[in-house]
């Protein structure tokens, strides 16, 4: 078992970085890369291992974000408790969507569209209610202190996210070797065949969307403490959904380290883009779009697939390009 050692080395290499890096800019950069790695890992669970491409993961992220923010503002509930409740709330939303969508057998493109529609419904609702701050959004009060999940320095958030990412990596590694993971991948490869072998695709996919949603929800909870602000566009808008799926696709779908690799690669490229094009609005997203298209065109297995690239080329030539 090599993977746990790689996870350990990853953790040990990143752990001292806040003490070594004096630049506020790079520390923020690293923290955000870890944040998107975490969100991407949530998506990877359902999309990468389960083969269910959600276009609306903001649904879970936003629910988690609003859950903590509202509880904190209205009832003064501690952010750590909010973190746990965010997982529960987003997991419940995952259960409800999953139950509806999988019960009626929506697969592939329809699954993608219906998740997007759910996120839109929530965006419109968040835009209309007073307790979510409507279109203005919610400002979370600043209460520095580890007990409030708000840290005096960026280093605190860095370590928190590092711990979450490592926990998620270990969970994914466990999943890959567990019976549940095997069932999930069987459903991804061929749902009907999996059913014939005695796997219950409905229960399997339902569990996956609950877990994926709960993790994405906690990402929302952390986001709120980090930026102290949330509005319907940030929470349920399409850009968070796109980031969530872009990260594992660039890194490598259905791999333990794919999302981490993807998040760091994506944000390195985004930073280079900012240096080249300046701060012009929209241009870094154009870069994301180009990257997504190029990835699907030339590297459908992600950066992790690079190692297998030679093999893939060979196979493509053998097929003789008969695909549509």
């Amino acid at each position: 078992m090599r993977t746990p050692w790689v996870i350990l080395i990853f953790a040990l290499v990143l752990l001292p970085l806040p003490l070594l890096i004096r630049s506020e800019f790079w520390l923020t950069w690293l923290t955000l890369a870890l944040f998107y790695a975490y969100l991407g890992q949530a998506w990877n669970l359902l999309g990468g291992y389960g083969g269910q491409f959600s276009f609306g993961h903001a649904l879970f992220f936003g629910t988690g974000a609003y859950c903590t923010a509202v509880l904190q503002i209205q009832f003064g509930i501690n952010a750590w408790a909010g973190f746990v409740l965010a997982a529960v709330a987003a997991g419940l939303v995952g259960a409800a969507t999953g139950w509806l969508v999988f019960r009626y057998g929506l697969r592939g493109s329809y699954f993608a569209l219906v998740t997007l529609a759910f996120a839109e419904v929530f965006r419109i609702l968040a835009n209309s209610f007073a307790f979510t701050g409507a279109g203005v959004g919610l400002l979370v009060p600043l209460k520095p202190g580890a007990w409030q999940m708000q840290f005096e320095t960026k280093a605190g958030f860095f370590w928190l996210l590092l711990a979450l990412v490592v926990a998620c990596l270990l969970f994914t590694w466990w999943l890959q070797n567990a019976r549940f993971g095997a069932r999930l991948m069987a459903v991804r490869e061929n749902e009907d065949a999996a059913r014939a072998l005695g796997v219950d695709p409905f229960n399997t996919k339902l569990l996956a969307i609950i877990a994926s949603g709960a993790i994405a929800g906690t990402a929302g909870a952390v986001y709120v403490q980090l930026f102290l602000y949330v509005d319907p566009g940030i929470a349920y808008g399409p850009s968070m959904s796109v980031e969530a799926l872009l990260v594992p696709i660039i890194g490598g779908l259905g791999t333990v380290f794919g999302p981490v690799l993807g998040a760091f690669a994506l944000h390195a490229i985004a930073e280079i883009g900012r240096l080249v094009f300046g701060e012009a609005p929209g241009l870094n997203l154009v870069l994301y779009g180009v990257l997504l298209v190029l990835m699907v065109l030339f590297l459908p297995n992600g950066l992790f697939g690079l190692g297998r690239f030679g093999f893939g080329l060979q196979r493509r030539f053998k097929r003789g390009g008969t695909h549509a």
Binding site: G51, F53, F55, L100, V101, Y104, L106, G108, S109, Y110, A112, L113, V114, L116, A117, F118, E120, V121, I124, L125, N127, S128, P238, V242, L245, I249, A280, P281, G282, L283, L285, V286, Y288, G289, V290, L291, L292, V293, V296, L297, P300, H323, A324
Partner: protein, 290 residues
């Protein structure tokens, strides 16, 4: 009891909005019916077409209705090229890949527009922009009436194309049996690209009919993309009559939703219809069982 005099204008207004939705969805339903792919970039391509028509008017003073052939041909070319050189190649035989590529394209087009033209909302003014037709119970703006008739004409034209021409027969053969079509000598890649091109040409027409009474902004496609999918799903995938009917239903739903729930919540009805139809009748109102 609600006043009939409030309800009727809302319904009529909904029908004219619905005609535009139908127009946009007709192209999408053709693309879906043949290629069995979901073109996520449909809304962004419409936005591009709207900007094209807008600049033809503001820079060269060309009337949107006269720009119709230009817009249709230009969008056809863009669609043909996109399918032939990018989307078709990216599929690697998987629907998910097409979905991702069209998502990527929509992100590119939308944000490039945001960079080039900023997020300003722009409108044009034509001599007939504020003309209205008096129907006794309601006034309908002339551009909306034209769009309504235009949607019906485009639907009829597409139907003729599919049933009366060799191209239409090839498209239908391809939709039914891909391998068989290839075996009888149909150039699959070409026909796929033609279908995608024609689907996009509908967007060019839609843009010309839409602009005299509507606005354009980089995000405008976003407002249409889920609506168009709702119409396609509601009408039954690949059915032109269904798309027309679905568009009108959605238009009226939105109009009545706006009347009863207010502007922002009114949109909710569209997404709820979308979700409910997908769940309970994924073949749509007029679709056949897959």
């Amino acid at each position: 009891m609600l006043e009939f005099s409030i309800l009727l204008p809302a319904i009529l207004n909904g029908l004219t909005i619905g005609a535009i939705y139908a127009l946009i969805a007709l192209g999408l339903t053709l693309i879906y019916g043949v290629l069995h792919i979901i073109n996520f970039a449909h809304g962004s391509l419409l936005m591009l077409a709207l900007y094209g028509v807008f600049f033809l008017h503001s820079l060269f003073g060309i009337d949107p209705y006269l720009a119709l052939p230009v817009a249709a041909v230009a969008l056809f070319g863009i669609g043909y090229g996109l399918q032939r050189f990018i989307i078709g190649r990216a599929s690697h035989g998987k629907d998910e890949n097409i979905l991702l590529v069209t998502l990527g394209l929509s992100v590119i087009i939308e944000n490039l527009a945001l960079y080039l033209w900023r997020s300003d909302t722009r409108t044009i003014e034509t001599p007939y922009s504020f003309e209205v037709l008096d129907f006794g119970v309601a006034f309908i703006p002339v551009p909306k009436a034209v769009a309504f008739v235009g949607a019906l004409l485009v639907a009829a034209l597409l139907w003729l194309l599919m049933t009366r021409t060799d191209l239409g027969r090839a498209i239908r053969a391809l939709a039914r049996e891909r391998q068989g079509a290839r075996l009888v000598g149909i150039n699959v890649e070409h026909i796929f690209a033609m279908s995608f091109g024609i689907g996009c040409a509908c967007l060019g027409v839609a843009a010309c009919l839409l602009l005299p009474s509507f606005y354009v902004s980089p995000q405008v496609g976003h407002a249409f993309v889920l609506v168009a999918f709702t119409v396609v799903v509601l009408g039954g995938m690949g059915s032109f009559v269904g798309a027309l009917l679905g568009g009108l239903i959605i238009g009226v739903t939105e109009s009545l939703g706006g009347l009863f729930l207010g502007e922002s919540l009114g949109q909710l009805g569209i997404f709820l219809i979308f979700i409910i139809v997908l769940l309970f009748r994924p073949t749509g109102l007029l679709g056949q069982k897959a």
